[in-house]
């Protein structure tokens, strides 16, 4: 249709002759009124694009092989982790100051094996079914932990009682509309208190392909990616929940993995199939935490001294900046 003009009569060897460039009136795919035809043309266009892209890739690969050693190095794709804004509080493994700090902070007695962790798990007032079950499962995951119901008691009053009964840590799971959504972790004899926002809580029965229940063995602990000073102290808080000597017979591992300020908790059972292969099977609940605030003393919302609070306006301005 309408191809009368154009280079046909020339019988030209090269039809898009440079002098007489008269292309037929092109149409863009979006201008066709008929939806079926438009769709069809669009698919065709897409296929063409894909072909071109593939051809380009092949060509590049060929060039690369042809150059051999002299080929330019492969481009590393940019990821958020690559582009992360360098945090000046990143801990250097050889830093003496940090090592000294850690030897004298509130977790020192734990790391020197002077105290055995004993943990109290409780909830906010009137917990609903899901939270209760989650507390129970959490109690099986963390050895030497006890669950007590809140019954309207003030936290400030139960803390001295806990200290008197030799508890080392207090976990309060806050609930909203029948699902747990917050976690307050407080190291008891006058230790720091961390307040987290908890999300994606999965109970044991909701996890696919799960194994049997966790046994009573002490699990190992993996802490991944806690790089800054703040991350370090939070990591130590988590480590202080578990007894120091894991029982390898149990083959259980609890993982706290920090990625972009989200801490993922998983509980697995592992088995070494060979030297280079390990299989893991998820048991136990899983949840993710995001740190909201870290307080120096025990839980005190009014008069406490805050070491770190998440201030949305200041801290959420850059997508490449993380604090843990």
């Amino acid at each position: 249709a309408g191809d009368g003009s154009g280079p046909e009569p020339g019988g030209g060897s090269d039809s898009p002759a440079p002098e007489r460039v008269l292309f037929p009136p092109t149409f863009s795919v979006s201008e066709i009124k008929n939806k079926q035809r438009r769709h069809f043309m669009f698919l065709r266009w897409k296929q063409q694009q894909r072909k071109e892209k593939l051809a380009l890739k092949k060509k590049r690969r060929k060039e690369r092989e042809a150059l051999g050693d002299k080929a330019p190095p492969k481009a590393i794709p940019k990821t958020i982790e690559n582009q992360r804004v360098y945090d000046e509080t990143t801990v250097d493994p050889n830093d003496e100051e940090v090592a000294f700090d850690e030897a004298t902070d509130e977790f020192a007695p734990y790391f020197n094996r002077q105290t055995v962790p004993k943990i109290l798990i409780t909830t906010s007032d009137r917990p609903r079914g899901r939270t209760v079950r989650f507390c129970e499962q959490l109690a099986t995951v963390i050895p030497n932990s006890h669950v007590y119901y809140r019954r309207g008691l003030a936290l400030k009053r139960i803390i001295p009682q806990c200290i008197a009964r030799d508890f080392t840590d207090l976990i309060v799971i806050n609930e909203d509309r029948k699902i747990p959504n917050g976690l307050v972790l407080s190291h008891l004899p006058d230790g720091p208190t961390a307040h987290f926002r908890m999300s994606s809580v999965r109970l044991r029965k909701e996890i696919k392909r799960k194994g049997k229940e966790p046994t009573e063995h002490v699990p190992e602990v993996i802490l991944n990616n806690f790089t800054t000073r703040l991350g370090h102290s939070i990591g130590r808080m988590f480590a202080a929940l578990f007894p120091h000597d894991p029982q390898f017979i149990g083959r259980q591992v609890a993982t706290f993995h920090n990625q972009r300020d989200y801490i993922f908790f998983r509980f697995h059972r592992y088995i070494f199939k060979s030297e280079k292969k390990v299989g893991i099977q998820e048991l136990g609940p899983r949840f993710t935490l995001k740190l909201r605030s870290l307080q120096k003393g025990t839980f005190d919302s009014k008069f406490g001294e805050y070491e770190w609070i998440h201030k949305r306006r200041e801290m959420d301005t850059s997508r490449r900046k993380f604090h843990l």
């Binding site: 194994g211 893991i280 993710t288």
Partner: protein, 288 residues
Amino acid sequence: VVWSMLGNRQFCSYKMTTKTQNFCRNEYNLTGLCNRSSCPLANSQYATVREEKGRCYLYMKTIERAAFPRRLWERVLLSKNYEKALEEIDENLIYWPRFIRHKCKQRFTKITQYLIRIRKLTLKRQRKLVPLRRKIERRENRREEKALIAAQLDNAIEKELLERLKKDTYGDIYNFPIHAFDKALQQQDAESESESDAEREEEEDDDEDVDKREFVEAEDSELSDFEDMDKLETSSEEEQEEEEVEKKASHSKSKGKTPLKGPARRKRPYIEIEYEEETEPSSKTKAA
């Protein structure tokens, strides 16, 4: 006059009617109901008790000031002491109709009671409701999903466990052969293999059958439940004949250590494997 106009018949803007009762919304009303005796508009001599910021005041209206709306209501601060305040009410409303006096005192009592309750509640813990911001919640959820994908948790955990195995934190529980020993053994095997391929193949087949049995099970039971391992074992024994011989090259390195490997690696007692171990030494002596 006022009452016959407003209260009973025509419109009063403070009047609220419900099915059973009429209420008066006037802030100076003593009882809250729309009655002839409790309408502040219709009575020229009226008194109420109202509280402001925790302090109670007695408001009085007399007929002499009816012409001055600004100065109509006279305010008297009542003492904080309950009994004293009651006396003050009596004092101020002396010679006033009994109804107003009585109702004033009743109202005052109720007000003090609820003030006490307020003070008690503020001492107890109060639940602070923090509103969630929808945009922020959505943003955080999205970021969490992306972080989860970026984290690649399974890989990270596996890597960490293997590293710990390498660093020997597990001690002697797992008897996996060490790398250097493997390589040396592999080299040795490669040399001797090139010499007499055929013979070795036969012998190694026996060995490798046994070895393969263990390895094949490992391949199969990657992600399945460990509880199924019993069943797997029987199936793999059939499969071992199909295994390619090429695998022997990679497995030959562990020839030396396989007798120890089986029972140490298995966490569940598999008696069958131990049988296989016993047949091995006979073939081993031939190979060595």
